[in-house]
């Protein structure tokens, strides 16, 4: 960058501020909580995927010594959870999936709680279930919610732009395919755990790993029918989130109600099996997609219909088309778009938010089709993308106002690092049963917040004490990604101190200002701008006092390395702490603190899904080189390349760490991970049977950071935390297709899937 200033903190790979606590085992996760009198909670899950509950008898369980509370739907307020308000925390009249909560127990230890669960007698009247969303859509299918006709969720996402039918007629080439993508799991290493504690005045404190402390506080108040001012949310160290804690779920409500009934604090921790079976998963989709182009490669139209298995209740999974739509409407330029969805209730577990929020699904479908389209056109897949590449200052069909855009550079960088010219087009040498190929895929994602709620804001309070120590109180949450370190760097840069001088407070709703939550890759951008604004206000006050002391006008002063000095006379320095003490310990003294609330200049999408929801958009490309064994169906990723438009790297090390971690999740999505769900039951609820990547599955990665210096971002930064996951499966899928000369339409590309396709191709040839 030509205007690259000399920064003290920005662009520096500062180790995570919480890393030492974590490396020494001192970090306290919710499951480490130990309060006086604390009990252990357990949930009784349904025995049927679909049934009426005739009777729940807890008499025996209540008599067991050590049991302090047993609750059923009768102990619950009549309110329901979720975006569609269809999920009672404990089910009273009906169960709709095997992960339905029927009763719960709090006891002095886990053994007693488990024993008590076995003593609860539930009488069910089984109802016919339905597990396949396409079956559930048919007339006469079992009705899961009385008010949802044809099992259709009332949420419906449809978008239309241009004239798709005319564009189809005018296309030289049209391709159409169906894709099927699986249920996958977040696999947070820490099983979900929370603690509830009521005090004598009726106030509730929740120790929760939530990603949305303030929405959580509001939702919990609504469901418990109490004022939110009586709920305090403390966020202990969070052992993995990835979107899995983006909603308020029944377990936390149950924990609170158990604690109230028992009159003692309750810890409720899932087992790994419960974590697999009972927490919401990434939404599986069936996509019918049709795309067209002119002979010269100009994209003409996209026509897409997604069927989403919602499971039995509505959490954020049902709303993923909101983001899924982005890749369909806005990744590469295309002027005629039709997008439609059917979100269908089934008797499966319900789905939720997961890193990328629908974008990995959407990008997989669109980017696989770009390769298929290129093949049909006889064009190079890279050339097709470059021809239709997004550009700075473009407005997409959904009304996204692109500001900076490094996509062209990302595509070219990845192609160069993959040796695209030689490896893609000339074909690679075959060795026995091994075939090699290369492929690439890009993404567009929000990079400057996401106005999906009426507020996309975040508050910040900055104070500087008498010794120049800085405290940043931020509304945002640390889920392991390193946001608190990045925010400390931004604050420190603005105040002329070092990131290590900044203490970040971000874990208590009673202290920190409001934030919508840690999602949509928004924290560096939104919380960063808030922190910077608050720090700038304090800095102005410091300079004002320093100006009196140094007898120099404020605009002639510099603040750097914990000192204030005249620009022209850097020898004449004053320590920041000294400036503050001078202003503090005098008559009419002052304290140095300021607050800011940054709410980005964006708009919510209207009812037609148009609106500029983000200040800026993130772009990037991933490339894969793979080797496929045609005898075993095994896909080996030899190398991955990531080129990302990051705006500005505030902390290159932590930024790379986000991309690497995201990519490993994408590799799992591409090749390994699938929850096997049969008749509503998860058949592989363990790390042994559900294969998430180990170190051995992680390919070598090359990362190139493209800095476009976004004018809206703090020091030019864009959000990137989800981006590592988004295009990975598509890039690997395209490389596999290049290696084998055939196309796969499902994930994961496990050996049996690959082998089946290879055999089918051979059979065709014979």
């Amino acid at each position: 960058m030509s205007d690259k200033k000399k920064y003290t903190n920005i662009g520096r790979s500062v180790p995570k501020l919480d890393a030492v606590e974590k490396a020494t085992g001192k970090a306290v996760y919710p499951q480490d909580t130990n309060l006086p009198g604390m009990l252990y909670g357990k949930i009784l899950w349904s025995k049927h995927p679909h049934a009426e509950i005739l009777k729940v008898d807890t008499t025996e369980a209540q008599k067991l010594p050590g049991v302090k509370a047993v609750i059923t739907a009768k102990d619950m307020p009549p309110t329901k959870l979720g975006f569609a308000q269809d999920n009672p925390p404990l089910k009273g009249d009906k169960v709709r999936s095997l992960r339905d909560e029927v009763a719960a127990v709090a006891a002095v230890d886990e053994d007693t709680a488990e024993k008590a669960l076995e003593m609860i007698k539930v009488k069910y009247k089984p109802l016919p279930p339905v597990f396949d969303p396409e079956e559930a859509m048919k007339e006469g299918a079992p009705q899961i919610h009385a008010e949802a006709k044809g099992n259709r969720n009332k949420l419906h996402y449809a978008f239309e732009y241009g004239d798709v039918d005319a564009a189809r007629a005018a296309s030289d080439v049209v391709v159409k395919h169906r894709f099927k993508l699986p249920w996958v799991k977040h696999c947070c290493l820490a099983p979900y755990s929370c603690v509830a504690r009521w005090d004598e005045s009726g106030k509730l404190t929740m120790y929760s790993p939530t990603q949305i402390p303030f929405l959580y506080q509001r939702d919990l108040a609504n469901i418990l029918q109490m004022p939110s001012s009586k709920i305090r949310v403390i966020q202990p160290t969070i052992g993995g989130a990835f979107g899995s804690k983006l909603d308020l779920y029944p377990n936390e409500v149950i924990c609170a109600v158990l604690a109230k009934k028992a009159g003692q604090p309750v810890l409720l921790t899932y087992t790994r099996e419960e974590e697999f079976k009972c927490t919401p998963s990434r939404q599986p989709v069936i996509a019918d997609i049709e795309m067209g182009a002119k002979k010269d490669g100009t994209l003409t139209f996209r026509d897409v219909f997604f069927i989403l298995d919602n499971g039995a209740y509505t959490s954020w999974g049902a709303t993923i088309p909101y983001v899924l739509m982005n890749s369909v409407t806005s990744l590469y330029k295309c002027q005629n778009i039709r997008f439609d969805t059917a979100i269908i209730y089934t008797n499966n577990m319900y789905s939720g938010a997961m890193r990328g929020y629908g974008n990995p699904q959407g990008t997989f479908v669109v980017e696989r089709m770009m390769d298929i389209l290129a093949e049909k056109l006889g064009l190079d897949a890279l050339e097709l993308r470059l021809k239709n590449c997004n550009q700075p200052n473009e407005v997409t069909p959904q009304g996204f106002k692109v500001t900076t855009c490094g996509l062209r550079e990302c595509l070219e960088t990845v192609a160069q690092r993959l040796d695209w010219k030689n490896k893609r087009n000339k074909g690679q040498k075959e060795t026995g049963t091994l075939r090699r190929g290369v492929g690439l895929a890009s993404y567009i994602h929000v990079g400057g917040g996401a106005r999906v709620y009426r507020s996309d804001g975040c508050g910040a309070i900055v104070k500087v004490d008498d010794f120049g120590h800085v405290t940043l109180i931020t509304g945002s949450t640390e889920i392991g990604t390193g946001t608190e370190t990045v925010l400390a760097q931004i604050t420190a840069e603005e105040l002329g101190v070092h990131a290590e001088d900044v203490t970040v407070v971000n874990d208590d709703s009673a202290i920190k200002p409001w934030d919508v939550g840690i999602h949509a890759s928004r924290t560096t951008f939104i919380a960063g701008n808030a922190a910077r604004e608050a720090a700038a206000k304090v800095k102005a006050e410091i300079l004002k006092t320093a100006s009196e002391l140094l007898e120099e006008p404020e605009n002639k002063l510099e603040i750097n390395d914990r000192k204030v000095y005249p620009k022209k006379n850097p020898e004449k320095t004053l320590e920041i702490g000294k400036v503050i003490r001078k202003a503090h310990f005098r008559q009419h003294g002052q304290a140095f603190m300021a607050e800011a609330f940054y709410d980005p200049p964006t708009e919510m999408e209207d009812e037609d899904y148009r609106g500029n929801i983000s200040v800026t958009y993130g772009f990037g490309t991933q490339g894969a080189e793979v080797e496929v064994d045609t005898e075993t169906g095994q896909v080996r990723v030899l190398k991955m390349v990531i080129a990302n438009d990051v705006g500005r790297a505030i902390n290159p090390m932590l930024l790379e760490a986000q991309l690497e971690g995201g990519l490993s999740m994408g590799v799992g999505y591409a090749l390994l991970e699938k929850l096997v769900v049969e008749k509503g039951e998860v058949l592989n609820p363990s790390f042994l049977d559900y294969k998430m990547p180990t170190v051995k599955d992680m390919p070598p990665v090359e990362i190139v950071l493209i800095e476009t210096d976004d004018p809206g971002g703090p020091y030019g930064a864009k959000g990137i935390a989800e981006s590592g996951t988004i295009p990975t499966a598509a890039a690997i899928g395209n490389a596999v297709a290049n290696a084998l000369g055939l196309h796969l339409f499902e994930l994961p590309m496990q050996p049996e899937v690959v082998l089946k396709a290879v055999k089918a191709k051979l059979a065709k040839r014979d």
Binding site: K16, K22, A23, Y29, Q31, L189, P191, R272, A657, L688
Partner: protein, 155 residues
């Protein structure tokens, strides 16, 4: 249920404890001794988060019954730093960005410790084998491998 008495040495401190026959080492460490740095990710020996050193060998403490640890010498993550100085592996994990949510970190560090002590001549492929039984969802393992390599090569 009858409880068993056992004596063990944890982080160079002697303990006498009474446990149920079914109590696992991880639960003993966490619930009885308050050493919550040992994290329980699965309870079935599949994720490695609860790794500790038992008589100098890395073990999944969820697969060890507490009674089996009678007379044993245990090192948990809390016992690794001495006199306020981090173990080189802990320091490398911090400096190289190998820690995100941190839940796998104690197990990763202890497994690496075990392997490096026994096999000082390891190559990169060997460190990978060493930690292949320990799962991490945040990092993609890249920086973890880098941190271990840094210590192995004495940088």
């Amino acid at each position: 249920m009858m409880k068993h008495r056992l004596n063990l040495r944890v982080n160079k401190q002697d303990f006498e404890v009474f446990v149920k026959p079914k109590t696992t080492l991880v639960d003993l460490l966490r619930d009885e001794l308050g050493l919550t740095g040992t994290n329980k990710g699965c309870g079935t020996g599949e994720c490695g988060a609860c790794t500790v050193l038992m008589n100098g060998n890395a073990v999944n403490s969820c697969l060890v019954l507490a009674v089996e640890a009678d007379g044993a010498e245990i090192t948990t993550i809390e016992g690794l730093a001495s006199e306020g100085r981090l173990d080189p592996l802990q320091q490398a994990f911090v400096d190289e960005g190998a820690i995100q949510c941190g839940f796998c970190t104690p197990g990763m560090i202890l497994v690496a410790k075990d392997f490096l002590e026994k096999n000082p001549q390891l190559r990169e492929e060997d460190y990978k084998t060493a930690i292949s039984g320990n799962l991490c969802r945040c990092t993609g393992y890249v920086k973890i491998v880098k941190a271990i390599k840094k210590v192995a090569e004495g940088e």
